[in-house]
């Protein structure tokens, strides 16, 4: 619950998450075209899902409703 700081810094968490999501997606595509490893691809998807659940969807608010951003 901080006061509005410099616009930009409050969005940092989302920026970082988006960056890693893009990186993993590129790795996925390269992996698919070279290795054809289903297991690795599924693991990478789970990693991406974890980032989305935690950072974007704020799943922890379910058990920590007070913690806001």
């Amino acid at each position: 619950m901080s006061e509005p700081t410099k616009s930009g810094s409050i969005y940092r968490r989302g920026n970082t998450a988006a960056f890693w999501l893009v990186v993993i997606t590129v790795i996925e595509l390269i992996l698919a075209l070279t290795f054809e490893s289903a297991i690795l691809l599924i693991l990478l998807s789970i990693g991406k899902a974890g980032i989305i659940l935690q950072v974007f969807m704020n799943i922890s608010r379910l058990w920590n409703p007070e913690e806001h951003h």
């Binding site: 920026n15 988006a18 698919a32 054809e36 989305i52 608010r61 379910l62």
Partner: protein
């Protein structure tokens, strides 16, 4: 006669407070997402159950990679702006909120048209025909069911954007924005699994015949 005692005082002595109601709403939405996950897992299960053959094991239709990759990126970008909108409203930054919501909806629309026009168009063109065994059936079922959720998500975003413009949400109380965000990210989450399942995993089978 009635099974509820007639009562002129229509005031609930145990009415949930706003913050209690928001907590319940949040859990309700998550249970809904859990429920939907059973649908999407069943679709994924269908994909892995059917897209096999005795020679190659797990297979996939040889679909164009680049457009699918771009549209995946577009959906991801929309998710990013959705998050930006939610953070913005929680800091009372209305300008960022307004344009981020619109951008989210716009990118969502690009994704929708990408899947329905470009991907389906590419697929139905000379190659994957509706009814070509299990390739067509599963491809259209998965992308179609996902697209249906994209449409619902875009509608939700536009409604919330519109109500936000009217000033209905505050930094402290913006459950509608949060709900819209959770749903939209959920739609993205589903695509995180659908994209590799449809385009990346398995031996590619040539479609020209």
């Amino acid at each position: 006669m009635s099974a509820v005692a007639h009562d002129h005082d229509h005031h609930n002595p145990m009415e949930p407070t706003r913050s209690e109601q928001v907590k319940m709403n949040r859990l309700g939405l998550w249970v809904f997402c859990l429920s939907e996950s059973f649908l999407f897992f069943a679709l994924l299960g269908t994909r892995f159950y059917l897209w096999r053959n005795p020679v190659d094991g797990i297979i996939r239709p040889d679909l164009a990679q680049i457009p699918a990759f771009i549209f995946t990126g577009v959906l991801l970008a929309s998710s990013y702006f959705m998050n930006r909108a939610e953070v913005a409203i929680s800091k009372d930054d209305r300008t960022t909120f307004n344009y981020s919501m619109l951008l989210t909806a716009a990118l969502g629309l690009v994704f929708l048209f990408g899947v329905v026009l470009v991907e389906w168009g590419l697929a139905t063109g000379p190659e994957l025909l509706l009814g070509d065994g299990a390739f067509g059936a599963v491809f259209y079922a998965m992308t179609g069911m996902h697209a249906l959720h994209v449409i619902m998500g875009i509608a939700l975003i536009l409604i919330v954007w519109n109500n936000g413009r009217k000033g209905l949400y505050t930094a402290e109380d913006h459950w509608a924005v949060e709900a819209c965000a959770i749903f939209w990210h959920y739609v993205d989450l589903v695509w995180v699994f659908f994209y590799p399942a449809l385009y990346l995993i398995g031996t590619a089978i040539e479609l020209h015949h």
